[in-house]
Amino acid sequence: MNWLTNFVRPKIRALVSSKKDVPDNLWHKCPSCEAMIFHRDLEENLHVCQHCGFHMRLDPPKRLAMLFDPNFQTIELPKPIVDPLKFRDQKRYTDRLKDAQSKTGRPDAIAVAHGKIGGHAAVVAAFDFGFMGGSMGMAVGEGLLAAAKLAVLQQAPLIVVPSSGGARMQEGILSLMQMPRTVIAVEMVKEAGLPYIVLLTDPTTGGVTASFAMLGDIHIAEPGAQIGFAGARVIESTIRETLPEGFQRSEYLLEHGMVDMVVHRKDLRGTLIRLVDLLRRPGPGAEVVRLPKADSPERHMARPMPAVIPGGVAEPPRPD
């Protein structure tokens, strides 16, 4: 728990105190068990209720600080065209955007950072549910593409932490197009041979789940997170089905084979470090000798292949 005591706590405290010198809300009510939690205890427990274990949502600064080693860097993201449809419902979309921006201090619903996780280079993209429900429009799509490109550039694993209600309706069809676009981002990472890990947090639904969020090499979910495609209300109203206990929760997804593990927030960083280490530092015994690609010219040169000795050490062919 060194990283927690030495780093995360002061960092989170710094984040809290930078907003307001004296927090006006010293007590927080747990949305699940309604217990009153002292703010210092909440921070210490990574915003998990110490009474019932409820995992509260984290904004990107807290999430990134929790996952990375010290000294990670948040990158500036591309700025796509704002309000391409000139969308207006009862309120202008541009006004909704401005409200969300002033509320969160962020241009849109995603933050991307690079740094080290347990000493391994990594890129993390974290959603902000507080920004219009973490909805995916062009800015989020661009953010994920930027994260993927950065991961490939740095030859680092990509870890994405969605927390999103789905597509951003106010960008219409262009928000739907972020589904194939973010799938392409994932393909870039996979084709570069890099691990792509999804850390599913509450909630991950709709077009976000049905694109990049379900294509991970490894899926980790926080306990109790809502994860699914169709909203529970949509299912109830259109199909008139009663929903089973724990429907669309992390544990339900684990039971149905959709996630690899459900991990308590306090163990997330340790789990990620172990996974990245296993995938990225295979050790001499597991090294695979790469053969030239089928279409590369070397293959046609009929050069004798080096002999491979168990243990992974290649020996040059010896003349008879």
Partner: protein, 317 residues
């Protein structure tokens, strides 16, 4: 023929024509003359009505029960159609039909959503709303096409992926995500055509294609106007406002650079002259497939990804 609310004046004129024809049996010259005049009026009215359909009216036309559906196109355009069934994992989902066939000389794999045309067939095809097994069947068929270097034609017509407990249980989101991934991975040409309703994730699952065509009065949207209205206006009664705001018509999508080509429908919509519509789409599909011929798989796939990466990058605002 089923008439839409805004088609009522046309329907009235046409029933008048029917009555007159019935009266005369074609012998009376005055009546024949009157019929001709009325028919002229109908044509003019159809032309003017369909030239300026509102987005909300287009939604109705796109969902018109007499509009040709996936199996109508397959029946008319594909010879030797050999349906293939099942996802090899769980079940056969008839909301997505697909198989091998010959389209104007070439072997193709066809995949499409079928909504059904009467109660029995609608139930059998689950109203065109696919479950995970449907999207997994689509993946399987795309991979089959890839293996045998056959082009893929997809016909999109769905209100959306099926929203139900069973679908969630079996990973609806994963199935859609993988289906998009498969579209973007295969090294054969894919041409998608939105023939009616392109409903959100359920549509894009089989529409991440090299060329995306759309019928003139089809719609394609991230959410149904009713769903959007009930969330943003807090009332489904504002569906017409939502239809306007979402920019879901073929003309909007062409302008936004999301689709490649609009295929014109006969005057009065696809449901009035089904055969002409089917042939028009057939010609457009043939053009698209011809345009993609002779490219190697790698550059084809690269181009497909590039096309989606460029959406929203220019020509907007």
């Amino acid at each position: 023929m089923h008439f839409l609310e805004f088609e009522k004046p046309i329907a009235e004129l046409e029933s008048k024509i029917d009555e007159l024809r019935h009266l005369s049996d074609g012998g009376d010259i005055n009546i024949a003359d009157e019929v001709r005049k009325l028919q002229d009026k109908v044509d003019k009215l159809l032309r003017s009505t369909y030239a300026k359909l509102t987005p909300a009216q287009k939604v109705q036309v796109a969902r018109h029960p007499n509009r040709p559906h996936c199996l109508d196109y397959i029946g008319a355009l594909i010879t030797d159609f050999t349906p293939l069934a099942g996802d090899r994992l769980f079940a056969e989902d008839r909301a997505i039909v697909g198989g091998l066939g010959r389209f104007r000389g070439r072997s193709v794999v066809v995949i499409g959503q079928e909504r059904g045309h009467d109660t029995e067939s609608r139930v059998r095809h689950n109203f065109g709303m696919a479950k995970p097994e449907g999207y997994r069947k689509a993946q399987r068929l795309m991979q089959l096409a890839d293996r045998f270097h056959l082009p893929v034609v997809t016909l999109v017509d769905t209100a959306g992926a099926f929203p139900g407990v069973s679908a969630e249980e079996r990973g609806q989101a994963e199935a859609i995500a993988k289906s998009i991934e498969t579209c973007l991975r295969v090294k054969v040409p894919i041409v998608a055509a939105v023939i009616g309703e392109g409903g959100s994730g359920g549509a894009i699952a089989i529409a991440a294609a090299d060329r995306v065509l759309m019928l003139e009065h089809a719609i394609y949207s991230v959410i149904s106007p009713e769903g959007c209205a009930s969330i943003l206006w807090r009332s489904a009664a504002n569906a017409a406002d939502a239809a306007q705001a979402l920019r879901l018509t073929a003309q909007d999508l062409k302008e936004l650079g999301v689709i490649d080509r609009i295929v014109m429908e006969p005057v009065g919509g696809a449901h009035r002259r089904r055969e002409d519509t089917i042939n028009a789409l057939g010609n457009a599909l043939e053009d698209a497939l011809d345009g993609l011929r002779g490219q190697d798989g790698g550059s084809l796939r690269h181009g497909r990804r590039q096309k989606f990466l460029e959406i929203g990058q220019k020509g907007l605002g």
